[in-house]
Symmetry: C2
Subunit: 206 residues, 2 copies
Amino acid sequence: MEMVLKKIILASKSVDRKELFKRLNIPFIAIPSDINEEQYKDKIDDPFELVKDLAKEKALSVKKKITHKYPEALIIAADTIVFHNQEIIGKAKTQDEAFNILKKLAGSSHHLITGIALIEVESNKIITESEESEVFFLNLSDEEIWNYIRTQEWRGRAGAYSIQERASFFIDSIHGSYSNVLGLPLSKINQILKENFKINLFNYSL
Amino acid sequence: MEMVLKKIILASKSVDRKELFKRLNIPFIAIPSDINEEQYKDKIDDPFELVKDLAKEKALSVKKKITHKYPEALIIAADTIVFHNQEIIGKAKTQDEAFNILKKLAGSSHHLITGIALIEVESNKIITESEESEVFFLNLSDEEIWNYIRTQEWRGRAGAYSIQERASFFIDSIHGSYSNVLGLPLSKINQILKENFKINLFNYSL
């Protein structure tokens, strides 16, 4: 008997998350959600609650869109923020904002906090979790920060950097979840899929 | 006056290292070395000396090949080993060897040690350094290990895994250098290039 594999839907428009998923050789569909992140960011103070809530809203938004087309799907959503000196740092909108964020992070450590939400469409079962990693930045001169900003890699990224690209030059070390730093806590997602949804990602392949 | 950028040569045939370099949007040429790694691995006991020595030999081997063609080049070479319970673990040659290695690493932590060597062809200046990260694996059942082995990702990788792909499912956390875990300690390489060779990687782009 052939095994029927649930379709995996990544509720994301993040290039980094899609890239990460592709490298796993697991077939997936990426569908972005339609939620207004800013609206949530003003309402919730606790960073862990905020990212879990946002991930859940993203997953639910995508669920609405795809329930008819993919009733057998499993949706994975995530939201990441940078937490530095008790301050929640999201995405920069301008170059100057990106500069100010990176200036704060330089020579210091911050926490990268990701919330994830997994929804099985058919049963409507929802699991949310969060994961964090501490990231240590080297000291950076203003010139080095501007050099980085000119690469445009700050755009659309929490904390105005993407560790998968040139920011790896100024990241000294990390403590904590590895895959979380890449944008998705894969070991946690894998565990939730196994334990709560009886899904074994090793059964998937391209 | 136009700035002349040194050609960067990656002395490697590693898919992971080439992939990592590509993501930086820095133009480079990959040229594999012709050295017999096994021969060194039997001779040197200290893991840090071993990887630095191997990286240097790889860089020198590539230097011989390219001196005439690229007299202005800068060569970057690296070698990585896994160090677990005082044992140096290299690449597995068979599925069974890969199984035995992963069985040892499961539910435990090991050190990933990378040696790097940078050579400026024209001046023959050589810098070698090493970097390490501690990697924590989750517990793995024999079935999970075999599932992983069937992905073929163990082939050609020190410690029989590649953190960039499905092994990220069973890596709990890391302590230490981030980019080292990916196969190249980029922040250290960037610093050496700046301080010892006056090369600013931010001046490069595709």
